[in-house]
């Protein structure tokens, strides 16, 4: 099981790879769409990359509820 810090840095790597977000910007309070300029299709790519990396399943109807980096971290923590 990945620790919170590992999840945060793993997610930051994915965000950089998929959407070009600088890792230092990927802090828990940031909203994907409002602050990080990640659109709904990039969210789908992030979801599939998170699924591969952390072995969790993020169905489409759950994805809509993940608004911030913090939401994603806690989703992964709960479901890994």
């Amino acid at each position: 099981m990945a620790s919170t810090a590992e999840i945060q840095s793993g997610l930051a790597e994915i965000l950089e790879e998929v959407a070009g977000v600088a890792p230092a910007d990927a802090t828990p309070e940031k909203s994907f769409t409002e602050d990080l300029d990640v659109d709904s299709l990039s969210m789908v790519e992030i979801a599939t990359a998170v699924e591969d990396k952390f072995g969790v399943a993020i169905p489409d109807d759950e994805l809509g509820g993940i608004k911030t980096v913090g939401d994603a971290i806690s989703f992964i923590e709960k479901n890994q």
Binding site: D39, S40, L41, V44, E45, A47, T48, D60, L63
Partner: protein
């Protein structure tokens, strides 16, 4: 009971593409034009889907008319006479009538005499399914020369006031003529379907019912589940990503095209079809339309190896490697 054994035929060692043709409807519709009648913008459409403009057919540009135009050009490019053709398959998901089908009429209009003819509906994968079926028919001896058409008038089945679909779907037709060869020009088709996602893209029947699509679910499926199909299409044809000169997947969304190209590890000078920018999503017409644009512009050349992929409603998918005529 008769014990006479049923005899089988064998056809040619392989089938090859002999000609490609396309028909683009006259009317060009830009994103700015759409922005005048619905709450959308050039910026949104270009960044999400990559479409800059599309063609919308006018009343006289029916599925059959567009098929005849594209098929006639493919025939002319092949150098064959209509009477050489003995199989006509029309792939479409937007035929105005289920019965009669379009195939026999298209054949008749082109002067093709009494060919085997049928329509095929495999959503946006239709063209690649039809190409696979026709190439196999030539190999088994059920046909010698085949005309395969992908034609759509999606504006007939799209709610043109609904921004979630109206900005995407469009009209057009593309066609290929296939014939027998020693040296195979059409690789084995790799096809399949995921029927558990049957509701993801639908054109319900009934008065006024229009096309619906669960865009994100399809996006996820297309970007994760089809890389293997593309790899299998290359493996089964005995080629590698480095051999592919042209990558021409279904033109649904530029972002899907770019992601697939990246994951495949294609060579740096592989030409990638981006006809979606000019044509929108024309479902089963998109692959031959994209190929004909690349051949016309000179970006793709005769003899190039092209990797094709169709995917869409069903959900269905089909891919194969072909050598361009």
């Amino acid at each position: 009971m008769s014990d006479t054994r049923i005899q089988l035929t064998t056809g040619a060692p392989g089938a090859a593409v002999l000609g490609i043709g396309a028909y683009r409807p006259r009317r060009r519709v830009t994103n700015d034009e759409l922005s005048q009648t619905m709450d959308t913008s050039d910026e949104w459409i270009q960044s999400r889907v990559g479409i800059a403009e599309r063609r919308w057919a006018e009343p006289d540009e029916t599925v059959v008319e567009m098929s005849v135009a594209a098929g006639g050009k493919a025939l002319a490019a092949s150098g064959l006479a209509p009477e050489d053709v003995d199989l006509v398959v029309v792939a479409s998901a937007s035929l105005p009538t289920m019965i009669p089908g379009a195939g026999p009429e298209v054949a008749h209009r082109l002067g093709i005499r009494r060919p085997g003819s049928y329509d095929l509906n495999a959503g946006c994968a239709g063209f690649c399914y039809a190409l696979g079926a026709a190439a196999d028919a030539i190999r088994t001896g059920s046909a010698t020369h085949a005309l395969v058409v992908g034609a759509e008038k999606l504006t007939d089945v799209t709610d043109l006031t609904d921004r979630s679909t109206a900005v995407i779907f469009a009209d057009g037709a593309g066609a290929m003529v296939l014939g027998p060869t020693e040296d195979p020009g059409v690789g084995p088709v790799v096809w399949g379907s995921d029927g558990d996602q049957r509701d993801a893209i639908a054109i319900p029947t009934g008065e006024g019912a229009k096309l619906t699509m669960a865009g994100q679910a399809v996006y996820r499926w297309a970007t994760t589940r089809l890389t293997d199909t593309l790899q299998q299409a290359m493996d089964r044809a005995g080629v590698t990503a480095a051999d592919i000169d042209v990558f021409a997947p279904h033109q649904a969304n530029l972002r899907i095209i770019e992601l697939m190209a990246k994951r495949l590890g294609l060579g740096e000078d592989t030409v990638i079809a981006r006809d979606v920018v000019q044509a929108g999503n024309t479902s089963s017409a998109s692959v031959p339309l994209a190929l004909s644009a690349l051949l016309e512009s000179g970006e793709a050349k005769s003899g190039d190896l092209a990797l094709l992929l169709g995917y869409g409603a069903g959900l269905t998918f089909a891919g194969q490697v072909v050598r361009l005529p």
